[in-house]
């Protein structure tokens, strides 16, 4: 296990949380989040993402294990580390009778490392970054769901941050808002800030992440860079599928090319692609007079890795 003093923003060693009542929400977690990475923290509902984030930020005391944030051993390092961490935990929470701006001022006042003389400027900048400048003076009560989510992101951007921890930042946002958050995360990461972002959907974070960690029922079942995770199902080969009425002929052509796992179905034939180039298959099928309606090559995707790791089930674990 890496010690991660300098090259990792988050390191956990055997982090465990057993809630009173016996529920083990997080079980023996060994996370390593490289500095400068955009780390997608994936897992289905109830897999322990939010509990992990609460432990990392010192809100919930782990029942086992140790962790470091920005090189500081926690929880002793809270005063030193947390001013450099922006956090969005389980959705926005603000004072409904205050304006968006006054809400940010309130949270800024709680940070002993924040300079009150630059507060107005930093608040205006954070609001501008999330596109809320126009609604700065509006009461939070009157904000829409998406505006609330944006304000929560603005609160995480109040100071110079080395690490952003975002728990489902696109929750409640429309597709446009989701794209905007992605662009913002990319832009923040380009400044060298590490971003730790949780989601239950791979598709939401895949495009912005450099690294992934996958949770299932409180356990980390995989972590690494995108390329490393893709390798996880390198053993599985691509498959080719031919849509045709002449299934038997197609199957014999595929077998003739030396493909393994040839099978026929209703109006289609398929096989494992192996080392054969798809264009050779097309040519062979045409030469054999097979009526080809369609030909598809399906390569194993990250999504398959994710589904393989977390299961496809609809039921919430635990």
């Amino acid at each position: 296990m890496t010690t991660g003093a300098g090259d990792h923003s988050i390191v956990t060693r055997g982090l465990t949380k057993r809630f009173r009542g016996g529920q083990v929400a997080v079980d023996d977690l060994h996370l390593s989040v490289p500095r400068g990475s955009v780390f997608g923290f994936l897992g289905p509902n109830g897999s322990g993402k939010t509990t992990t984030i609460r432990m990392l930020l010192g809100l919930v005391t782990p029942t086992g294990g140790a962790w470091e944030l920005l090189g500081a051993p926690m929880p002793g390092g809270i005063p030193a580390a947390l001013p450099r961490v922006g956090a969005l935990v389980e959705g926005p929470a603000f004072y409904p009778y205050l304006s968006g701006e006054a809400n940010l001022r309130r949270y800024d006042a709680a940070d002993p490392a924040a300079d009150p003389r630059t507060a107005s400027r930093r608040i205006a900048l954070a609001l501008e970054r999330v596109g809320l400048s126009a609604a700065a003076r509006k009461r939070y009560r009157a904000y829409s769901l998406g505006m609330r989510q944006r304000l929560a992101i603005a609160a995480a951007l109040l100071g110079p941050r080395e690490l952003l921890v975002l728990d489902e930042p696109t929750n409640g946002l429309d597709p446009q808002g989701t794209r905007e958050v992605r662009a913002l995360v990319k832009e923040i990461a380009a400044d060298g800030t590490t971003v730790f972002v949780s989601s239950h959907l791979l598709a939401e974070v895949e495009q912005m992440c450099t690294h992934l960690g996958v949770m299932r029922t409180g356990r980390l079942v995989a972590q690494g860079s995108l390329a490393e995770l893709r390798e996880l199902n390198a053993g599985e080969t691509a498959v080719v599928r031919v849509e045709t009425p002449d299934t038997a002929e197609a199957a014999s052509v595929l077998a003739g090319l030396g493909l393994a796992g040839v099978r026929t179905g209703d109006g289609e034939a398929g096989a494992e692609l192996g080392a054969v180039a798809p264009e050779r298959i097309t040519a062979a099928l045409v030469a054999a007079g097979v009526a080809v309606r369609g030909l598809a090559v399906r390569r194993p995707s990250l999504e398959d890795v994710f589904v393989g790791l977390t299961g496809e089930g609809f039921d919430v674990d635990g």
Binding site: G58, V60, D111, T118, R150, A189, D191
Partner: protein, 341 residues
Amino acid sequence: MSTVDGTGIVTEAEPAGKGATAGSGPAAVPERSSGGAGLRAVPGGLSAGAREQAPASRPPGALRAWWRLLGSEAGLTFRRPRNLAVLAVLAAIPVLIGVVMRLFAEPLAAGAADGPGNGGAIFAQVAGNGLFLTFAALSLLVQLMLPVAVAVVAGDAVAGEAGAGTLRYLLTAPAGRTRLLAVKYGNAVLFCLAAVSVIAVSALVIGLALFPAGPITLLSGTTISFAEGLLRIGLVVLYVTAGMAALAAVALALSTLTEAAIGAIAATVVAVIVTQVLSVVPQLSWLHPYLLPQWWNGFDGVLRDPVATAEMGQGLLVFAAYTAIFGSIAWARFTGKDITS
């Protein structure tokens, strides 16, 4: 690359040096360029701009940060409509008492004179000197109205933030648990002072408007100047504030036990009422000196000459003990608590 197998053991399959490439930054983020953005890219970005300036401005002193957070707390408390309504009610009651006494002064004073304790004696004096209305109003309101007002603010202090979810953001700011609790208590004491002062000032103004002013004849028979009378009102305000501050510590401790502010407020008020009931049961007289409300109107001493300090001194000791005990309970509970709201 590390994967975790079924037993939770991390298997490292990472060639040396790979960590460095991984940490080399998000240059390889495979995202296609995103479309138009309502999330605007600010020229010179926030982090960059703030970073260049962060080292230049030295970190604000710890003391200044405390004052800033206390100012923020007070701003929330004294701007919140509910709390302002509570203060308005506290200001209105002395007016009501004053008007009623003006209209029915004679029978009321006669009836009150045979009531228990010195409260009756104080009431009897009001018709003769307006300053006494302040003492009368405080000795009346300190029984229940003032404690309810204090419970509303101090009971809400932690539970209200927990219930709204704002507590998690204050703590990740990071406000610091001990610091946040201390500031919340300081703010509650400020509110106690404000509530007591509002009653005193309102009673003083209406008392002087409706009744004669001038030198005061004390309960002990001696006469003191009007200015000295004001000074003694100041002493009473401080004493009652100390008594309410002790209650605020109790309410704060209850506030750390729940995420429902109304529960902490109600529990505080119920505790006050139960204690009031206990304090009139003669069989429990051995217990009475330990009950907080028993000491709240122990300020008759200022109406004697010289000021009788013995009872007030004991009262202050009781207040200090309650504050220390319940403050410790609140601290122990709050610093060890899982924030799951």
